[in-house]
């Protein structure tokens, strides 16, 4: 039954922002289906609108065109069934690891005894039971992101979105986290939409990769990753992996040559604006 939930259908989605009296088109006419329990990565250069699309599926960025359905119901606002893990540190600094993980259950009004049981279980899965009474400020980046995963997963979301969740981690920790994410997904089988600009990460993790164009973001290429599961870090050096990687890198390079008009500085600025837009809503 769980395997059936979590289908996402994006129909002619367009997202525009008003930024210093200019309309900025972040995403243009994207239509794509995510099947329940699948692992899909949005791959693209920074500022290509992939985070905006993610925000729209989560429900805190509004569409200017089209609609998004999750399990046949249109998305209007964020809720606990669609969890998001951000790159930024956004654990509640005033709550312990346990308090952070318990938050979503409290919001849903689940009784204490059951909360305790669910939190224990998920902390065990992300191997943080020993640190449950620590405050986030005392944890390493990798541990903080494990708390983030646990905090979202304890709600048993049907869809989990991750926005460059491991970008700030060192290579070794990133690999560990990627393997842990695959393990968690394998156990819980939610639909995952993963945003990254790291080609290795995209291929290693996903069933399917959507390569996005520069702003305004459109889906340029949509391909399945034929590598066998379960995936491990060893596959990073296999011949098949390298062929795919080369293919992706070429696509991305073409994309950056195709549109060199927009300077990097401008894009960074636009990302910030996009962000304030979300806050003010």
């Amino acid at each position: 039954m769980k395997g059936q939930a979590g289908g996402i259908s994006v129909r002619n989605a367009g997202i525009s922002f008003l930024a210093s009296n200019r309309v900025v088109e972040a995403v243009r006419d994207i239509s794509v289906e995510f099947s329940p329990g699948s692992f899909t990565t949005l791959l693209g250069p920074s500022g290509c609108g992939k985070s905006s699309l993610l925000g729209a599926i989560a429900g805190f960025v509004s569409l200017t065109q089209g609609q998004i359905l999750v399990d046949q119901r249109p998305v209007h606002r964020p809720d606990g069934s669609r969890g998001v893990v951000f790159q930024h540190h956004n654990l509640f600094p005033w709550k312990t690891v346990r308090g952070n993980v318990e938050f979503g259950l409290q919001m849903r009004g689940i009784r204490k005894a059951e909360r305790q049981h669910l939190v224990d279980e998920i902390l065990d899965r992300v191997k943080l039971s020993t640190f449950q009474h620590s405050y986030p400020g005392h944890l390493s980046g990798g541990m903080q992101q494990r708390v983030n995963l646990a905090r979202v997963l304890v709600n048993r979301p049907t869809v989990m979105m991750l926005d460059e969740p491991f970008a700030a981690l060192d290579a070794q920790t990133r690999l560990q986290m990627q393997e842990m994410l695959l393990e968690l997904w394998n156990g819980l089988k939610m639909t995952i939409v993963f945003v990254t600009h790291d080609v290795d990460e995209a291929i290693l993790l996903s069933d399917r990769v959507l390569v996005m164009s520069r702003r305004p973001g459109r889906i340029r290429t949509d391909f399945e990753v034929p590598l066998a599961r379960p995936r491990t870090a060893d596959q990073l050096t296999s011949a098949d992996f390298n062929r795919l990687k080369k293919y992706c890198l070429e696509l991305l390079r073409e994309e950056s040559i195709a549109d060199e008009g927009a300077s990097e500085g401008e894009l960074v600025e636009l990302q910030d604006l996009e962000f304030t837009e979300r806050v003010n809503r």
Partner: protein, 281 residues
Amino acid sequence: MADALVSSSPTLGNQVRPAKLRKKRLFVPAVIRCASLLACIVLWYLASTNKWNVIVNFENVPSPSAVCQAAVQLVSSAKFQGHLLSSVARVFSGFGCAAVLAIAIGLGVGRSKLLSDLLMPPLELLRPIPAVAWIPLAVLMFPNPEESMVYITFVGAFYPILLNTIHGVSSVDSNLIFASLTLGANRVRVFSDVIVPAALPAIVTGLSIGMGNSWFSLVTAEMVAGQFGIGYYTWESYTLQKYPNIVLGMIAIGLLGMLSSLLIQRIAWLFMPWAKLGANR
């Protein structure tokens, strides 16, 4: 398992310091601080006993020993204690009212444009008026001097608390708000479970500045309009030419101000254990 986790988190490893090292770390600064205080007293002693007269005239400044003698006599006297008690009572009632009102208004104004438009214009208009300038009108407005002095301390404490609360509320990290929304929080819970705790450090800053201001305002008010209180006592000592008592009054004011700030900090740590942990690092 636990070993692997510790090794992946350098910050956690650093936290456990050998007791000896910690002791030395605390001991050396303590010696330096005591020496600094002692040097000030020695300087005061030299200046007052030799009656230095270079720009500043120390001829009428009582020596440390004279002040000590006065202290020994007075500290146990009911009259002096009465002055102290009435000042403390005024500060705590004025400051208490200011804290409750300023935090309540600040939380509202920081989150609601309507409340901000409604309440801030008159408050901004009154803000540049120092508490001391309220003394004449306060004496006229309140039925007895006691209440007018409590009002002056209230005014002194009110603005720093209000402005810091507004600042704390309006600068809450938007990532935390997103996180709570995607974890299923509604508007009320976002306010009570995210915005209020996130603003707490700024509120505490406001409280401790406000506490300093309320002592400052009270002492002035007591000197001008009081019949009891440590400020009145200090001024009375001047008119009665009991010079050592002036210094004693000043020291008492300094100590009371310091102790009340310390009290606020300690109470704050009870509510914000995470901030204390951060400060010790």
